[in-house]
């Protein structure tokens, strides 16, 4: 069940919220837990046991670490248990066939691939539970004594299948004590609706255009058209993913939780370094805190720093999927980040800001072309179209036709990818009182209209993909 669907929006969510609000506080976590388990079992009736197992392992390890872990050695032992089991699970379900494929190629073997389907959200929840074990080892969090509370944390449906990766330390207190307020409900609802609109009205539409251009590429497209396609995919991924985070943060707030932001207008970055501070923040900080810094970060000389960058970005790429293109995509960023750090240095920031934006967007858009094709041959063909090496012309009627059809959606997407909305809000504060009142009333009307439109799009659901099934 995806958030942007009729069943979730009109049946699951209202039922969950109604029950959640009427029961007394001590039962609220159980209601949330039951609905979360239904939510996960709805799409993964079998693999839900895997998630229950993973949480049971980390819960038990946590209790044991607390009970017997006065010595550092025993603590390490339990930490290793937890991390090994989690990584083994992730490795088995996500990377087994990839590794078998590599072995077959290298050693000319013919091991049967296992053909396992990837459990939805496994990369998210294993990272969450590992963060708990590691933080517990470092004594940064308190041990959770109630298994069901711990399970509620991991399985909480707003963030279970597509993040953000919320660390135990962030919600530890709210799991036990949180205020449920009308204000939070209103703010959370609006945030959820913003995410819903972004996903249904923008991401799905630019995604549809990307699919069309990708399909047309085989028959020959112009250079301009190929770039339009790459931009569309970039916009689709950003709006889809950040919309999921918006919806998760919004629903969390409706339930009384306060999750950290996961995206901060990444397409308005001025450098690659800047981009990774704004894109999927919960993942990049996870790798920073649990891999990069423990390895020594940048404090052990250039060579070690470069090694650390390489490891982190290799892993970041691989986290996104079991295929070479994801690894390539990760390393692409590793190289660029090292380049910015050691070669370009602050020369970039002395350029006109328009050029800085242009540079960052170019890198990001090109990067997502690596990201989207898991077939290297296809990737090569598409890139040859992008650089006019497929015997194609620079521009043609194709790009004009697509622009004409998607002009409104594309303009909206480009504008909303920049922090225009907060900027206008600030400007609006200087308006006279009546002006401000009219604006907030107009805002309310547009929410209603957009909600109506979103419903119309969802009822007629021809293109509504879930992009994260590979993560």
């Amino acid at each position: 069940m995806v958030f942007s669907s009729i069943p979730f929006l009109f049946f699951f969510l209202p039922a969950c919220l109604l029950l959640y609000y009427v029961v007394p506080f001590r039962v609220k976590n159980y209601i949330l837990l039951i609905f979360s388990l239904i939510f996960y079992a709805w799409g993964e009736p079998v693999y839900i046991f895997l998630m229950l197992f993973a949480t049971a392992v980390d819960y038990t390890n946590g209790r044991l670490m607390e009970r017997y872990g006065r010595k550092k050695k025993t603590r390490i032992f339990f930490l290793c248990c937890s991390v090994t089991i989690n990584l083994f699970m992730l490795g088995f379900f996500k990377y087994a066939d990839f590794i078998i494929g590599i072995c077959n190629d290298l050693f000319r073997l013919s091991i049967e691939p296992m053909g396992l389907r990837l459990p939805v959200g496994i990369s998210f929840f294993t990272f969450q539970t590992m963060s708990y074990s590691i933080d517990l080892y470092k004594r940064k969090v308190k041990v959770e004594k109630n298994y069901f509370t711990y399970l509620t944390y991991v399985s909480m449906f707003p963030q279970l299948i597509a993040g953000p990766i919320i660390r135990f330390s962030v919600v530890m207190e709210e799991l036990h004590r949180r205020a449920i307020s009308w204000h939070d409900f209103v703010q959370g609802s609006l945030r959820f609706l913003q995410g819903l609109f972004k996903k249904v009205l923008i991401a799905n539409n630019v995604g549809e255009l990307w699919e069309m251009i990708r399909a047309a590429q085989a028959g020959g497209i112009s250079v301009a058209c190929a770039w339009l396609g790459a931009v569309c995919f970039t916009l689709q991924l950003y709006f889809d993913f950040s919309a999921y985070s918006d919806m998760a943060i919004g629903m969390g707030q409706m339930l009384g939780f306060h999750f950290p932001e996961n995206f901060r207008y990444p397409l308005s970055s001025v450098s690659v370094t800047d981009f990774w501070r704004r894109w999927h923040i919960s993942l990049s900080t996870w790798f920073r805190d649990y891999v990069y810094i423990p390895l020594g970060g940048n404090r052990a000389g250039i060579l070690k720093h470069l090694r650390n960058i390489f490891i982190v970005w290799f892993l970041t790429g691989m986290w996104h999927g079991a295929a070479w293109n994801f690894i390539l995509w990760g390393l692409y960023y590793g190289v660029l980040l090292a380049f910015e750090k050691y070669i370009i240095k602050d020369r970039l920031s002395r350029l006109p800001s328009l050029l800085q934006h242009f540079y960052a967007v170019f890198i990001v858009v090109f990067g997502f072309v690596i990201f989207v094709f898991d077939d290297m041959g296809q990737m090569g063909l598409y890139m040859s179209s992008m650089f006019g090496m497929a015997g194609n012309s620079l521009t043609g009627t194709d790009v004009l036709w697509y622009l004409k059809n998607y002009a409104v959606v594309l303009s909206a997407a480009v504008l909303l990818a920049f922090p225009l909305y907060p900027y206008l809000q600030k400007k609006a504060e200087r308006l006279p009182q009546t002006g401000r009142m009219i604006l907030s009333a107009a805002g309310a009307v547009s929410y209603a209209v957009l909600f109506f439109l979103t419903t119309a799009y969802l009822v007629n659901d021809t293109y509504n993909p879930f992009l994260y099934f590979r993560f």
Partner: protein, 383 residues
């Protein structure tokens, strides 16, 4: 911001959330109260039923998926919402929706994509020609509205050339002995006089079929029945066909269905699958339904046998075809005492076997439109 504004802003935000939540609850109530329909007239398909529970289907995830489809399919005012979506997209400048171009003069035109199956198609026709000895075989590949009314397409619309594909197929069939009939010129000549294609359906009109019928007659040395000898009448003026169903927007145009009847014909029409016999090529019951084109030849039948006692020859014709032929057969019966009609998507056994068992058959017409020829692959069954 002053306090008064903050309070006002908060009130407005609360109101927004209350209204949205109210809308959600309202639709849930309507869903519970409204009668569920089995069939969507607008989309011309059966809506999903509530799935039956089994442990197996739960384990495979089909059960929950079935519930999701059920909830989406029976959402209140589904048709209205679909219209709203189409209208919004058109208003936002989209001129191609679900594979349909929004053309000038209310024309909705189905797109034509690069052909994928040309080799297979040529192979099927060649094998068929080799297996049939006694009869003259004609092949009539009909360009669709996207070619004939290309000037009505939205500006810049990217369209593959149907004529190029047809030339390739005709070229490769050159030495098979099949008579390759060209109806393009005839259609182009008459396209201003009458609508040769429906505005809301992927089929041609009876006028379109007549133009191709003339081309067929000319190629086969038959004198076509002149237009004046037919009783021409409009049988429906509220037809909204398959292309309409892809958009479901009530604001779109309606089509008229016209037929050319020859009052002199004495017909016996036998539908082999249902064992029904009729004296008419039309089934008026379909004019009351959504899918009015099924009026011609009573919708889909794998095999139909038509006898016309007043035909102007004793020749017998086998028509192997897609649904485009359904409104052309009424012209062909004037010249053949017997017409056997095969829909090879559903007829099992292959018409070539039938031909070898029935040496009285003198002519074969293979008739397909350029769109379904490649996408539907009914010709997989001709041999």
């Amino acid at each position: 911001m002053r306090n008064k504004d903050v309070a006002f802003d908060n009130k407005i935000k609360s109101a927004t959330v209350v209204v949205t939540a109210g809308m959600i609850l309202l639709f849930v109530c309507l869903f519970a109260l409204m009668k569920k329909q089995d069939f969507s007239e607008g989309e011309n398909r059966y809506l999903k039923q509530f799935p039956e529970f089994s442990f197996e289907s739960l384990r495979e995830g089909k059960y929950t998926e079935g519930i999701q489809d059920y909830l989406t399919d029976h959402f209140p005012f589904r048709d209205v919402f679909m219209g709203v979506k189409a209208e919004t997209e058109i208003a936002l400048g989209k001129r191609q929706i679900n594979g349909v171009y929004i053309g000038a003069d209310d024309y909705l035109i189905e797109e034509y994509q690069a052909p994928q199956n040309t080799d297979k198609i040529v192979g099927q026709f060649t094998k068929f020609a080799q297996s049939v000895e006694q009869a003259n075989i004609s092949l009539l590949l009909v360009p669709t509205a996207v070619t004939v009314y290309s000037e009505k397409l939205p500006a810049l619309a990217p369209v593959e050339s149907q004529m190029q594909t047809r030339e390739e197929i005709y070229g490769r069939l050159g030495d098979t002995g099949i008579l390759l009939v060209d109806c393009y010129e005839d259609l182009m000549k008459r396209k201003e006089d009458h609508g040769l294609f429906y505005k809301t359906d992927h089929h041609w009109t009876t006028y379109g079929a007549y133009a191709a019928y003339e081309a067929y007659c000319e190629a086969n040395g038959i004198a076509p029945v002149p237009v004046e000898q037919f009783e021409i009448k409009a049988v429906s003026d509220d037809f909204r066909g398959t292309i309409y169903s892809k958009l479901n927007d009530a604001k779109l145009a309606e089509d008229t269905i016209t037929i050319f009847e020859n009052p002199a014909n004495k017909l016996t029409v036998f539908y082999q699958d249902t064992k029904e016999t009729s004296d008419s090529l039309y089934n008026y019951e379909y004019l009351e339904k959504k899918d009015q084109y099924s009026f011609f030849l009573n919708n889909i039948h794998p095999f139909i046998e038509i006898t016309n006692e007043t035909a102007d020859s004793d020749r017998e014709l086998v028509v192997i075809k897609d649904s485009y032929a359904n409104c052309m057969v009424p012209f062909l019966v004037n010249h053949f005492r017997k017409v056997y009609v095969f829909d090879t998507r559903y007829y099992k056994g292959g018409p070539s076997a039938f031909l070898n068992e029935n040496p009285s058959v003198t002519d074969v017409l293979l008739l397909y439109n350029m769109n379904t020829l490649d996408t539907d692959l009914g010709i997989g069954g001709i041999y």
